[in-house]
Every structure is written in C-alpha cells, then in structure tokens.
Amino acid sequence: MEKKQFKKTLAVAQNVLNECIRHKILNILFIFAIAIIGGNFIIKELSPGAEHRTLIDAGYVNIEIFGFLALLFSIFIITYEEFEMRNIWITLTKPISRTTYFLGKFLGICLILFLNISIMFFLLMLLALLNGINLNINYLLIIASIFLELVVAIAFTLLFTVISSNLITGMIFSFFLFLIGHLTEHLKILINKEGTTPILKIILYIIYYLMPNLSLFNLKDKVYSIEGLFPFDYILKILIYASLYSVICLIISSLVFKKKEI
C-alpha cells in the first residue's frame, strides 16, 4: 500500500478509536465487563476444589462475550453515524478511496477490541496472581486466540453491515454467525454419518468451508487437556486462517462498498 494511503487508513482508524472510546454505551459496557470479571472473585467461592479453574474460565468467557459485544456496539455506533446521520457524506468527498476508508474503519475497530481485551486480560491476570495461580504463556496464547477469533468476527460483521440494507439485520446475522461458527466443527458428525447422501455431504462441506470455523480458536476449552504449552505451529496456522478469512471478507466488503450508493 502506498505510504499516503496508509496514513489515511491510520487517520480513519484514529477517528474511529476516538469516537468509540468516548461513547457512553461502550464505556458502560466496559465498566460492566470489569465488574463481572471482578465478580468472578465471588463466583469462585461457589466452586470449592476448582476455585482457580472457575476464576480463569469465567474470566476468559467474559472477555470473549464482552469483546464480541464491544465490537458489535462499536460497529453499530460507527455505521449508524455514517449512514443514518450521514456523517460519511463529508468524509467520502475528501481524497480518500472507499477501500482505504473501509480498511481504516476495520483497523479502528480492531484497535478498540485490542484495547478492551488487553485491559480485561490484565485485570484477570492480576486476580489470578492475587489468588496464587501459576501463570504461564498458555494464558497469553488463549487470549491471543480469542483476539484472532474476534478479528474474524469484526470482518464478517462489517461484511454483513455493508451487504444488508438494514443495520440491525446485519448485526443479527453477525450474532447468529458467531454462534454457528462454534458449531461448524460438529458438522463433521453429520458429514461422516452413514445415512448422509453424497449431495448432502457436498452441501455440508460447502457450509463447513464457508462458515468461519471459530471453534479452531477455542483454546480455552483445551487448556486442561494438554501437557505443557500449546504448540506454536498450531497457533501460526490459526493466525494464517484468521488472516485469510478476514482478508476475504474485507475484499468482498470493499468491493460491495465501492459500488454502494451512499
């Protein structure tokens, strides 16, 4: 990418970041997330013998849920202001291509997500240390995989908001795809079942490859079943998968956005 285009992408990303950080809804959501993570301190008391486990598990799940909600809200805020309040009219008449603008928006939302997740993760690790839990690099790899999963979620949410005529519809599709993405791996049961016809198998395979396989990023469910650290080559493979899926969504989104009438 040209240096100038990259600078403009950064400008848009910074704009998105500033707008979302100061937005009340996101701030309330963030405070709520922190409170819930802090509340895990109490929840763990209900789980004698597995207190450490419960604290960490609930913490990661909270980070994932609130991370997803934060990205949904961020995209809603930005897109609503763009289209409903016609904020985008002035911006797109400046010397910036729609692709650059779109990439800047994607980068901005990723930065917000990174900020949210980092702070929540830091708090969780602080609680873990106070509870005498031995930390290792696996905890960092789990949060990295959650971040990658949510970056994929940002990409397909932006795709839906661009394609659909209604912002709410796009959000709903994204929410359901987030759920379906975790079930994709279980499609294999149907594919390998004896009674499945070849045509159905082909359809299921197409769905399996089309849907984002979010269960690949689910390292938090595997942390107790492995010995030692998560293998780095697997982490690299899911990083490549997340990057490619996001790139595909972004290319399609930018192609649609280029032709969209504002």
Partner: protein
C-alpha cells in the same frame, strides 16, 4: 516492473481493481489450503474431536449450549457448582444422593479433564456412600481420560486396596503414578515399603519383589526428588545388602 512516471494515477487504480480480484482468488485458494493444513495438524486431531451427543443421557441442553458458544469448560464449572449444591442439600441424603453419579457423568462427558471431580466424587462414593464399584468405575474413567494425572492412579490404588486388600493392584497403580511428573517424593518411599511387604507375603516371589525394590531404591539414590528420598534409599540399600557400609 512498471515505471511510475508513465502510469497515470487512474491507470494505477484500474490495476488495483484487478489486483483486488486476483488477491481475492488467491486468498480463497490459500484459505482452503490453510484449513486442510490445520486438519492435518496433530494438535487439532487430538483435541478437536466431534462431540458424541449420544453420550449425554440426562441433559442435552448443556451439551448444545456449551458447544454453541465454545464455553464447554465454563458449563462444566457450573455443573460442578450444581454438584456441590446437590451434596450440600441435606434433603438429598434421604435418597442417598442418587443423582450424584449421573450428574458427575454429565460433567465428565462435557469436560473429561475436570480431574478434581473424579477425585472428590469418587471419594464421596467410596467412603461416604459405600458405592465402591461406582467409585472405582469413576476413577478408571478419569485415568482413561487423563492418563498422566498421577493422583487418579493413587486414588485407584487406595480404593482397590480398601475394597479387598488387593495390595498387588495398589502397587500396580502406584507404579504408574511414580512415572508421572509432579508426583510427591513420599510415594516412592511408600512403593518401596510395599515391595518389601509383598516380598514377605508372597514368599515364592520374594526375589522378584526384592529385585523391584532394589531397582527402585537405586533409582531413588541416583535421582532423588528430595534429600529424604536419598537417605531412605541409602538406608534400605544397605539394610538389604545392596550397598556396602563404609
């Protein structure tokens, strides 16, 4: 290579549109390739198994919910809290906590690596509810799902010994436990003592058990987990003539 002076910006943008198209095609091809690469990964093959829905008898809701959002371990944590509540409710004592075993089976079906559940519930089944067979079955399931978790082998040793005084079975399980990393040093000393006891009980196989004891003590002497183990090993090696006194 293009010379920038002779390409107008508009032409550059036309090239970029075609570039986007080919980038999309390339990304899709690489994406499918990356998915195939992941599926051939060992970690993936070992850990990303399909969930057998038929295994859940009591509550398919937990299975579906945990799968849908990827919160398997959190659901199992909540199931554990449910078991704790169940045990804590005195009313359930009237039915001899009959739901304890099915609830635990649900939990370990969702999360086979919840090791504390195997230990705690099997202990309750064994020593409080006197359901020895269920306790042993539960611990065996735990070992099957967590072969490197030495505590499970230790518990099985204790249960099999309690059930019928089967010291040989206890020894077998402790032998498995001492191979695992993180086992307590004391376990090696206990095993040594059990070998000596067996050599006294099974006189025809005395040499066999003493040979095992000797090998264990030499290992403890050369690779002690703590100083006490080395002292113990030295003491016993000298006592039984495997080491000369200075």
């Amino acid at each position: 290579m293009f010379n920038n002076f002779f390409i107008s910006i508009q032409e550059k943008r036309n090239i970029m549109s075609k570039y986007n198209f080919w980038l999309l095609i390339l990304s899709i091809i690489l994406f499918i390739f990356s998915l195939i690469l992941i599926q051939s990964d060992n970690f993936y093959k070992l850990n990303f198994k399909e969930f057998s829905f038929s295994e859940i008898k009591q509550n398919p809701f937990y299975v579906i919910f945990s799968s849908m959002c990827g919160f398997k371990i959190l659901v199992s944590d909540f199931l554990w809290m449910d078991i704790i509540q169940y045990i804590g409710d005195r009313n359930n004592a009237k039915t001899n906590y009959k739901e304890l075993y099915p609830k635990t089976m649900n939990l370990i079906t969702i999360d086979p690596n919840f090791t504390y559940a195997y230990l705690a519930v099997s202990g309750i089944l064994m020593f409080e509810l006197k359901e020895i067979d269920k306790a042993i079955e539960l611990i065996k399931k735990g070992i099957e799902n967590n072969p490197k978790y030495w505590q499970l082998n230790l518990y099985l040793a204790a249960y099999t010994y309690s059930k019928g005084g089967n010291i040989k079975m206890a020894v077998h399980n402790i032998e498995i436990a001492v191979i695992q990393e993180g086992h307590p040093p004391m376990l090696e000393r206990i095993l040594g003592n059990m070998y000596v006891k067996l050599s006294e009980i099974e006189k025809p196989y005395k040499d066999f058990w003493m040979e095992k004891a000797k090998n264990l003590w030499w290992y403890m002497y050369h690779h002690p987990l703590e100083e006490l183990n080395k002292k113990y090993a030295e003491e016993h090696l000298k006592k039984y003539g495997f080491m000369k006194y200075n």
